[in-house]
């Protein structure tokens, strides 16, 4: 059994070497299917981050049929256990690894270095190697649009966000949400509760209730994988929205919309590059323009004239003529964040560690 695996591995390695030497297309996929493995830290449900990633593999299965073999490993704790499991799946002959959490970075990078014939895609990291691409979504582009809608739906002028951890990715979504709301109602305020956990449904619900008690009447569920916040908001009759995948079925009346992610265009292009032997590691920071970020399930109660404006803004974001982070932007402490006319670059956005004016909760240091 071991011999067989080793021989298969050597054959594949040789084939890739050959492909590299020829520098062109190599259809060794006809030999045996390309093994694609997705590793995610949480259990995969009908909604959430893991669901969005695994659902994005479906179009690849449909397009390539039996030329690919997709394995999904869920509920894998970050740390040594994840390293062991990722090494095992590569040793089993899988040549395409999608490491679906920031915490897998070091282990996945080692695998990429040791196995030049393996392609690794890694979620929300910063390390790059020739066969190692970090990927992240420009969620802030979508949360800006939902901020515009939230401002129109809010009666109290107070919005809220239940957020997991104060990391740049989540800070930017809150900032863009606030800026979008201010574009419609300039003096709107946003309160944030950091639950300091990626996964604690009970605490997330308590946090949502705490915000509702403070008269926030649109709540942004910022990076929760379960409908904890969304269903609490439906019960309380306040609007809510979330990231990654639609939770409309948990809040039929008060679901404002979803900043959905569809990774399939990116996954598909990467698989094609891998098969063609032209894969190059890069920083894949993808948004509305790449059709990775899409706002779906807009609430029909949003006024039609505002909806037209939102769609116009979305089109401008897609063609690059508008960015939520174009100055003048004032920081929450009153100092200048972005000068008038200047636009934050991608590296500046991924390192953002301050709140814009209008976010009333101080940022944890």
């Amino acid at each position: 059994m071991t011999n067989l695996t080793r021989r298969t591995l050597m054959k594949a390695a040789a084939a890739t070497g050959l492909a590299g030497a020829l520098g062109g297309r190599m259809a060794f996929a006809a030999d045996e299917p390309l093994g694609i493995t997705l590793v995610v830290p949480s259990p995969i449900g009908d909604v959430g981050w893991g669901h969005a990633l695994s659902a994005s593999l479906e179009p690849i299965k449909a397009a390539y049929g039996d030329k690919v073999k997709v394995t999904v490993l869920e509920n894998i704790m970050e740390g040594p256990d994840a390293d062991r499991i990722m090494n095992k799946t590569v040793a089993d002959g899988n040549k395409f690894l999608i490491a679906g959490s920031f915490g897998y970075q070091n282990g996945a990078l080692q695998i990429a270095r040791r196995n030049p014939d393996v392609t690794v895609l890694h979620a929300s990291g910063f390390q790059i190697a020739p066969n190692f691409t970090p990927f992240a979504a420009k969620y802030f582009q979508g949360s800006y649009l939902l901020g515009m809608a939230a401002a129109a739906m809010s009666k109290t002028g107070k919005l809220g966000s239940v957020s997991a951890f104060a990391i740049p990715e989540l800070i930017t979504t809150i900032n863009a949400f606030t800026l979008g709301a201010q574009a419609v109602k300039p003096d709107i305020e946003v309160s944030v509760v950091w639950v300091n956990s990626w996964f604690d449904p009970a605490k997330e619900q308590e946090a949502a209730k705490a915000l509702i008690a403070q008269k926030c009447d649109v709540i942004f569920s910022n990076a929760q994988d379960t409908p904890s916040v969304i269903s609490a908001c439906e019960d309380a009759g306040v609007y809510s929205f979330n990231l990654n995948s639609s939770m409309k079925k948990y809040a039929e009346k008060t679901y404002l919309g979803c900043v959905a992610t569809d990774w399939s265009p990116f996954f598909k292009a990467s698989v094609e590059d891998h098969l063609a032997g032209t894969f190059k590691g890069r920083n894949a920071f993808l948004g509305v323009a790449e059709k990775v970020v899409q706002v779906v399930d807009w609430n029909p109660a949003i006024p039609a004239d505002l909806m037209t404006k939102i769609k116009e803004t979305e089109a401008k974001i897609a063609d690059g003529s508008f960015s939520p982070f174009t100055g003048p932007i004032t920081k929450a402490d009153g100092t200048e964040g972005v000068a008038a006319g200047a636009t934050m670059t991608d590296p500046e956005i991924v390192a953002m560690d301050w709140h814009v004016k209008g976010v009333t909760t101080p940022l944890p240091k």
Binding site: N75, N196, F199, A202, A207, A213, Q214, T226, S228, P362
Partner: protein, 303 residues
């Protein structure tokens, strides 16, 4: 509703999962057994109750089934730790891990589904009071768990059953010598503790946060065990600790929502700090601590 009203209204419900599990563990430890599997027992109760409520069985049946399921799992603990006299710490940990695994297995197809919670029952008059009114509108399980607290306190304070459990925990040899079935009492206590943990899990998954997600107990079983120790095995102090923990966790969220300028990491750790501090201060008397502690805790009994 301001922050104080929010905390008062939510405090008891937030405390209930801790309270139910800790009351169960209190009885177990009073009988001289240390069951560290509470987290897993809660997870099993949570998933069983969720499945039954999801399929329309109702909350009552869900709680009953959760109690039975967790009691059954705790009886496996009893068989290994009391029957075969294995190390209680190791057995408890193993049963806890088994419970979490089982809950993930049973709950696989129910991941991220939701159910409806229960309506609140208000005490007429009191619930209309300003500020504190919210305290008197709670769901039925909160009221029942307050009754359970009273009942367990009364059992240990006034009844022979309470004395027998304590005797078995303090000096099993003496209890055996005067004719009490030590193992029998301990097995019953473990089953009771399992049932209470099952109720606690059920409360978490079908009333407090009416959804199922693998890992949703998120360490609450461990906090319940800690409450028993920091509450020095006294019912009143455990109740106080659970309420305090619930109130301070809500306070830390409300403080952020109001925009208080304190780091959220500090606020998140506040429930632990305050509970340890308060219970530490009220049980600072070493002599009393020794008096309340269970002498044979965790020791296997041999005739």
């Amino acid at each position: 509703m301001n922050a104080i009203e929010f905390i008062l209204a939510g405090m008891l419900a937030a405390a209930t999962p801790f309270l139910l599990a800790a009351l169960g563990e209190l009885v177990v430890e009073r009988a001289g057994v240390l069951n560290l599997g509470v987290e897993g027992l809660m997870a099993v109760g949570a998933v069983i109750a969720f499945i039954i409520v999801y399929h329309g069985g109702g909350h009552f049946l869900g709680f009953i089934a959760a109690g039975f399921a967790s009691a059954a799992l705790s009886l496996i603990f009893a068989l290994i730790a009391l029957g075969f006299r294995a190390n209680q710490v190791a057995t408890g940990l193993a049963i806890g891990i088994l419970g979490q695994g089982l809950s993930a297995l049973f709950g696989k197809t129910y991941e991220s589904l939701t159910v409806k919670g229960l309506p609140k029952i208000a005490i007429p008059g009191l619930s209309d009071l300003p500020v504190v009114g919210g305290l008197f509108a709670q769901d039925i399980v909160v009221w029942l768990s307050l009754l359970a607290t009273l009942a367990i306190w009364a059992t240990f304070a006034f009844t022979k059953t309470g004395l027998v459990i304590r005797a078995v925990g303090e000096n099993p040899k003496a209890a055996h010598a005067i004719g009490y079935p030590v193992i029998g009492v301990r097995v019953a206590a473990v089953a009771f503790g399992g049932m209470m943990a099952g109720f606690a899990g059920a409360y978490a998954s079908v009333i407090y946060t009416p959804l199922w997600a693998d890992g949703m107990i998120a360490g609450r079983g461990w906090i319940a065990i800690a409450l028993v120790v920091f509450g020095t095995w006294l019912t009143g102090r455990i109740f106080l600790g659970a309420c305090l923990f619930g109130a301070v966790s809500l306070m830390s969220l409300a403080a952020q929502a109001t925009g208080l300028d304190l780091p959220s990491q500090l606020l998140s750790s506040l429930p632990y700090l305050v509970t340890i501090l308060v219970l530490g201060i009220i049980s600072a008397d070493r002599r009393l601590l020794k008096l309340n502690g269970v002498a044979s805790l965790g020791e296997p009994f041999e005739r």
